[in-house]
């Protein structure tokens, strides 16, 4: 099994930089960057888990991490799905904001269960137009399982736009949930946004 280390990253990045003088495929550098992003992300998540802070303080930290590392406009747009076509600009902005708090609380709760455990970055692979960074979660009393981050530079910055936990895809799961929240409010977007601020 390939274990990621900082030294490896530096070596890879160094090699890529040296190769810049030659016509090198662009992904050589991006590969290291995508992996570097997840390495930093995992490092920050692990720090919050180990911090021993209160639950509320941890959610604040996770929200900060999401805002720094996640492509939130993309995730929010995907979660809203076709209903976005009838949403106003103001509704879209309000939704992205409410949705950010909601996924920070929801996924923050899941990450809190990693206390005493750790995430380990395994490797990176180019898929379609993005990078898949594979990590393994080691939790007490449990078989290790896969957590994948999908990273893209769509915005000009490397950010993760999807996450798979043992095959469970965050984008699909949240689109289903937001759709159900809208149904419950008979399609009223403002009411759904108000519910979202309390959910998660």
């Amino acid at each position: 099994m390939y274990h990621f280390s900082r030294r490896n990253l530096i070596a890879t990045a160094g090699a890529a930089l040296t190769a810049l003088a030659l016509p090198v495929p662009a992904f050589a550098l991006n590969n290291a960057q995508a992996k570097g992003l997840v390495d930093n992300l995992v490092g920050e998540i692990n720090n919050v888990i180990d911090s021993g802070k209160t639950e509320a303080a941890m959610y604040g930290d996770f929200e900060r991490i999401f805002r720094k590392y996640a492509d939130l406009p993309y995730i929010a747009a995907y979660a809203m799905g076709v209903d976005a076509r009838r949403a106003s600009g103001g509704q879209k902005k309000a939704f992205t904001d409410a949705f950010t708090g909601y996924i920070s609380r929801k996924y923050g709760k899941r990450f809190r269960e990693f206390i005493g455990g750790r995430l380990e970055v395994q490797g990176v692979k180019e898929v379609k137009s993005f990078f898949q960074v594979t990590t393994i979660a080691h939790l007490r009393g449990e078989a290790p399982f896969e957590v994948d981050f999908h990273v893209s530079d769509r915005t000009g910055k490397n950010l993760f736009f999807n996450m798979y936990i043992e095959g469970i895809n965050m984008l699909l799961t949240e689109r289903e949930e937001i759709g159900a929240m809208l149904d419950r409010r008979k399609g009223n977007i403002d009411a759904m946004i108000a519910d979202l601020r309390k959910a998660g």
Partner: protein, 244 residues
């Protein structure tokens, strides 16, 4: 011959096959109305019985012991996984299950500890639902089973067949066999308690717990069976983010 075999597998698995207009990859749920009734029943059962029992269990039983009960039940399942891997012609799987079983029975004190994982020999469970998949059966329609929860026609058939695939149930005297059954139920209750927050969040906090359960089960199961291809991954240009 292949057609005949596939036909037999389909018949054995009792799978309903979606029509040609069904979008590939999407969950096929023609029995949704009935499933939703079962789901409400399962939720009521959980709220009244399973959840309180699970909370009590984790409150009373120390975590280390609860984990050991889980390992013990899991270890008794290794021979059944080995039989299924054998039917899938997966030699490495068979070897892993048998090695784990032997290590955990001996070094793991009868299976109370997962010593095999300490040696890096991690679990690789299998079941007859997976065997049917390897033999070419489709997952069929989604079903929510009473008590057992989310499944599909293929996996539900697998569960019935797996009542008979564990060699231990033929060699152990009935008293020992019952210990296995009790451990299995205790392990399930223990899991419900250990993961109370995540299960609660799905069952009681999501806007449509039936739809969430259906999606989570299907995605996770397809992942286990190696059915999630890169083609199915969502790409960064799939959505218009303007205004968000």
């Amino acid at each position: 011959m292949a057609v005949f075999l596939t036909g037999t597998v389909l018949a054995v698995a009792g799978c309903t096959v979606p029509g040609p207009n069904h979008p590939a990859g999407e969950i096929f749920d023609p029995y949704e109305d009935g499933n939703r009734k079962t789901h409400e029943m399962n939720r009521a059962l959980d709220r009244a019985l399973v959840r309180p029992a699970a909370k009590g269990y984790v409150a009373v039983v120390p975590e280390g012991i609860a984990i050991s009960v889980g390992h013990f039940a899991e270890n008794l399942g290794e021979p059944s996984s080995a039989v299924n891997h054998l039917m899938q012609e997966d030699g490495a799987g068979v070897a892993r299950n048998l090695t784990r079983f032997v290590i955990n029975v001996t070094l793991g004190f009868g299976g109370l500890f997962d010593a095999a994982s300490d040696f890096g020999i991690y679990p690789d469970d299998s079941d007859f639902g997976e065997t049917l998949h390897v033999w070419g059966a489709p997952e069929g329609a989604y079903v929510e089973l009473p008590v057992l929860g989310p499944s599909n026609e293929r996996d539900a058939t697998g569960k019935v067949v797996d009542l008979f695939t564990n060699p231990l149930s033929y060699v152990l005297p009935s008293r020992e066999r019952n210990i296995g059954k009790v451990a299995e139920v205790a392990a399930k209750v223990g899991d419900r308690g250990r993961y109370a927050d995540i299960v609660d969040s799905i069952l009681y906090e999501s806007a449509d717990s039936y739809a969430q359960g259906r999606l989570l089960y299907t995605q996770n199961r397809r992942h286990e069976l190696g059915m999630n291809t890169e083609e199915s991954y969502i790409a960064p240009e799939d959505v218009n983010t303007e205004g968000f």
